[in-house]
C-alpha cells in the first residue's frame, strides 16, 4: 500500500506547496507593482549618481551642484552635458587652464549615465539625443551648408579644428562620436555657443553629423589634405618642395656636364 500513498502524503509535498504559494504570491505582487519598482530603480540610479557626484564632482561644482569659484553650477545643464563632458573625458578636469581637453574616460557607461540622471533630476535641461538622430541618414548636402554657416568659422570647413583667442581652440571633429557631436551642439560646452533645437532642429543636427561623417569616411575631393588647415600647410609645402624642386632644376640646367 505504501506505493499507493497519495501525493499529499509524500515527504516533499509540503515544500512543493510552500514553493507554489511563494511563486504565485511573489509573481502576482511583482506583476502588480512593476511601475512602482521602476520608479524605485530610477530613484536608486539618482541616488547612485548623487554619490558619484559627491565623490567626484562636488569639490568644484558644489555639494548641491550650485557651482563654486572653481566650477560652474550644473543646475539645468541636462543629461546631455554630463554625458558629453564625462563621456569625452573632459570631466573630471585635471588642471585649471584656458580649456579642458579630451582625455581617457574616467568612468564606466553605467556610472556616466547615473551621474547624467542625477544632474537631469535637478532641473530640466537638454536630454541625451535619441538614437534616430545619430544614424547618419540625414542630408549631408544640407548639413554641409549649415555647418559652413554655423560651425566652420571655428571648427574649419571640414571639421579640422582651429585656434581661438588666448590659447583656446575649437577641437577637430574627426573621430568624435555622433552622440557627442550632437550633445556639444545642444549644450555648448566651454566656450562653444549653444545651438538649441529652436536654432538648429534635431533634423538639422542630424544633417550636420551626417556631413561630418561623410567627410571623415571619404577621401578629400581636392587632393592631399595636409591637415586640412588651409594656406599655412599648403604654402609651407609649396615653398619647401615646390621651390626646392625648381631651384634644383635651375642648378642642374646651368651646370656643365662633366
Amino acid at each position: 500500500m505504501a506505493e499507493k500513498k497519495s501525493i499529499r502524503r509524500k515527504p516533499w509535498a509540503t515544500s512543493l506547496v510552500i514553493l507554489l504559494g511563494l511563486i504565485l504570491s511573489g509573481g502576482g505582487y511583482a506583476a502588480a507593482t512593476t511601475t512602482v519598482q521602476n520608479e524605485a530603480s530610477s530613484a536608486e540610479l539618482v541616488e547612485e549618481g548623487r554619490k558619484l557626484f559627491l565623490a567626484n564632482c562636488a569639490t568644484c561644482h558644489g555639494m548641491n551642484s550650485e557651482g563654486t569659484n572653481a566650477g560652474p553650477s550644473l543646475i539645468g545643464v541636462g543629461a546631455a552635458s554630463v554625458d558629453f563632458q564625462v563621456g569625452t573625458g573632459r570631466m573630471p578636469g585635471q588642471a585649471s587652464g584656458v580649456q579642458l581637453r579630451k582625455k581617457p574616460v574616467q568612468f564606466t557607461e553605467e556610472q556616466i549615465s547615473a551621474m547624467a540622471v542625477y544632474v537631469a533630476s535637478l532641473a530640466p535641461g537638454p536630454a541625451i539625443p535619441e538614437e534616430r538622430y545619430l544614424d547618419n541618414t540625414g542630408d549631408a548636402n544640407h548639413g554641409s551648408m549649415l555647418f559652413r554657416i554655423n560651425c566652420a568659422m571655428c571648427h574649419n570647413a571640414v571639421g579640422a579644428g582651429g585656434a581661438l583667442t588666448e590659447g583656446k581652440f575649437a577641437p577637430g571633429l574627426e573621430g568624435v562620436t555622433e552622440k557627442h557631436i550632437y550633445e556639444a551642439m545642444v549644450t555648448g560646452p566651454q566656450n562653444m555657443p549653444v545651438f538649441s533645437d529652436a536654432n538648429l532642429t534635431p533634423e538639422d543636427k542630424e544633417d550636420i553629423i551626417t556631413y561630418l561623417k561623410y567627410v571623415e569616411e571619404n577621401d578629400s575631393v581636392g587632393g592631399f589634405e595636409l591637415g586640412s588647415i588651409g594656406p599655412v600647410a599648403e604654402g609651407l609645402f609649396i615653398w619647401i618642395f615646390g621651390f626646392g624642386f625648381i631651384i634644383a632644376i635651375t642648378v642642374w640646367l646651368t651646370s656643365r656636364a662633366n
Binding site: 566651454q190 566656450n191 545651438f195 538649441s196 529652436a198 536654432n199 642642374w252 656643365r256 662633366n258
Partner: protein, 346 residues
C-alpha cells in the same frame, strides 16, 4: 659666323667715342678671356657617350609612360558626379601623367644637349648703343620731311582740331571710372537692407526668429527678411549679415544712448569685420569675445564690441533691435554707422 667677323672689323670704331664723364680706373681688372675648353666625359669616352644616349632615351620613355598614365587616369576615374572622390584620383593621375610626360621630354632634351651635342664656345661682342652718323642724319631728314609733307605747321585748323580730339579722348574713361570713386559709392556703403520693422531671419533658410527661441549662450547667424528673394542677394548679404547672441543681461555694459538697442540680453552686431571685411563669427560663450579669423581682431561683445586686440580700428556696428507684437525680433533701424572696412570718408 659672318656676323661675328663683321663685328671684329668694327672693333676699332669703338674708340672713336669718348667715355663721357665715366671714370675709367687705371687699375681695372683685365679681361681674363675665355676659360680653356674642357672636353666632357662623353667626348672622350665612347662608353660614356653610349650611357648618356641611353639616359636620354630613358627620359623620353618616361615621357611616353606619363602620357599613357594621364589617359589611364582620365578613363579609370571618370568624373560622373555620382562619386565625388573620383575627382581626386582623376586630377591626381592626369596631373602626374602630364607632368611626367612634359618633364621627361624636357629633361631628356636638356640632358641630350648637355652631354652629346657639340659644346664649343662662341663669343658675341656687344654692338655700340650709338647709331652710325649716316643713320642718325637720315632719321632727322625723314622727320623733317614728314613735318613738311603733312603740313602740320601750315594747316592750323587741322592741328587745332587734332589736339582737341586728343584732349577729349580720355573724358569717357574719367566719367566711367569716376563711379568707382568715393563720390559714386558712399551711399551704397552706408545703407544696408536693415530698416525699421525688418525681421531678423535665420541664415540661410530665411525663417524669422522669435526672441524666446534665442536661449542663453545661443548664437544665430542672421540675414534680413526678404534677402532670399533678391536677385543680387550676395551683394546685400555682404553688408547686412548679422550675428545675434543672447548673454546674461547683467554682463552687458551698454552706454545710455544704446540702452534700448538690445532686447533682454539679445544683442545683434554686424558680422563684417571693420578691418578688411572678413566675417567675424568666432564667438566664445564665456569670455564674450568675438574673433576675426583673418587677422585675429578681437571684439568684446559685452562691451559694445570694442576692439580689444588686433588691427581693426573701430567697434563692430550694432544693429538696434526689438520685438514686434508677435514676438519676432525686428530691427529698429538700419545700422547707425557704415558696416565693414573703414574708409577715408568716414
Amino acid at each position: 659666323m659672318s656676323d661675328l667677323e663683321k663685328r671684329e672689323d668694327n672693333h676699332e670704331d669703338e674708340h672713336i667715342y669718348d667715355g663721357g664723364s665715366a671714370v675709367v680706373p687705371s687699375d681695372k681688372i683685365e679681361d681674363p678671356g675665355l676659360e680653356p675648353h674642357r672636353p666632357r666625359l662623353a667626348d672622350t669616352d665612347p662608353k660614356a657617350a653610349d650611357r648618356a644616349e641611353k639616359q636620354v632615351a630613358a627620359m623620353f620613355a618616361i615621357s611616353i609612360v606619363g602620357a599613357i598614365i594621364a589617359v589611364w587616369g582620365y578613363v579609370a576615374f571618370p568624373i560622373t558626379g555620382e562619386d565625388l572622390v573620383n575627382t581626386r584620383y582623376n586630377a591626381l593621375w592626369v596631373g602626374v601623367g602630364m607632368a611626367l610626360s612634359l618633364l621627361g621630354l624636357g629633361f631628356g632634351a636638356v640632358h641630350w644637349a648637355k652631354t652629346l651635342m657639340p659644346d664649343h664656345e662662341l663669343t658675341e661682342e656687344r654692338h655700340q648703343s650709338r647709331s652710325e652718323p649716316e643713320t642718325r642724319a637720315k632719321a632727322v631728314e625723314i622727320l623733317n620731311m614728314a613735318g613738311d609733307e603733312s603740313g602740320l605747321s601750315r594747316r592750323k585748323l587741322i592741328r587745332r582740331t587734332m589736339f582737341g580730339a586728343l584732349a577729349f579722348l580720355p573724358i569717357p574713361a574719367v566719367v566711367l571710372f569716376g563711379d568707382l570713386g568715393p563720390a559714386g559709392v558712399s551711399d551704397k556703403m552706408r545703407v544696408t537692407m536693415w530698416n525699421s520693422g525688418v525681421r531678423l531671419t535665420r541664415d540661410p533658410s530665411g525663417v524669422p526668429i522669435k526672441a524666446s527661441e534665442v536661449t542663453l549662450g545661443s548664437v544665430y547667424h542672421v540675414i534680413p527678411d526678404g534677402l532670399n528673394d533678391l536677385y543680387h542677394k550676395l551683394d546685400e548679404k555682404a553688408k547686412a549679415a548679422v550675428l545675434l547672441v543672447r548673454v546674461n543681461p547683467g554682463v552687458l555694459n551698454e552706454p545710455e544712448d544704446r540702452k534700448g538697442w538690445s532686447y533682454d540680453g539679445i544683442v545683434a552686431y554686424s558680422k563684417i569685420c571693420t578691418h578688411v571685411g572678413c566675417p567675424v563669427a568666432l564667438y566664445e560663450q564665456h569670455t564674450h569675445h568675438l574673433l576675426c579669423p583673418c587677422h585675429q581682431s578681437t571684439f568684446d561683445l559685452a562691451d559694445n564690441c570694442k576692439v580689444i586686440f588686433g588691427p581693426a580700428a573701430r567697434p563692430l556696428p550694432q544693429l538696434p533691435i526689438t520685438v514686434d507684437e508677435e514676438g519676432y525680433l525686428i530691427a529698429q533701424s538700419d545700422f547707425t554707422e557704415p558696416v565693414g572696412p573703414s574708409y577715408w570718408e568716414m
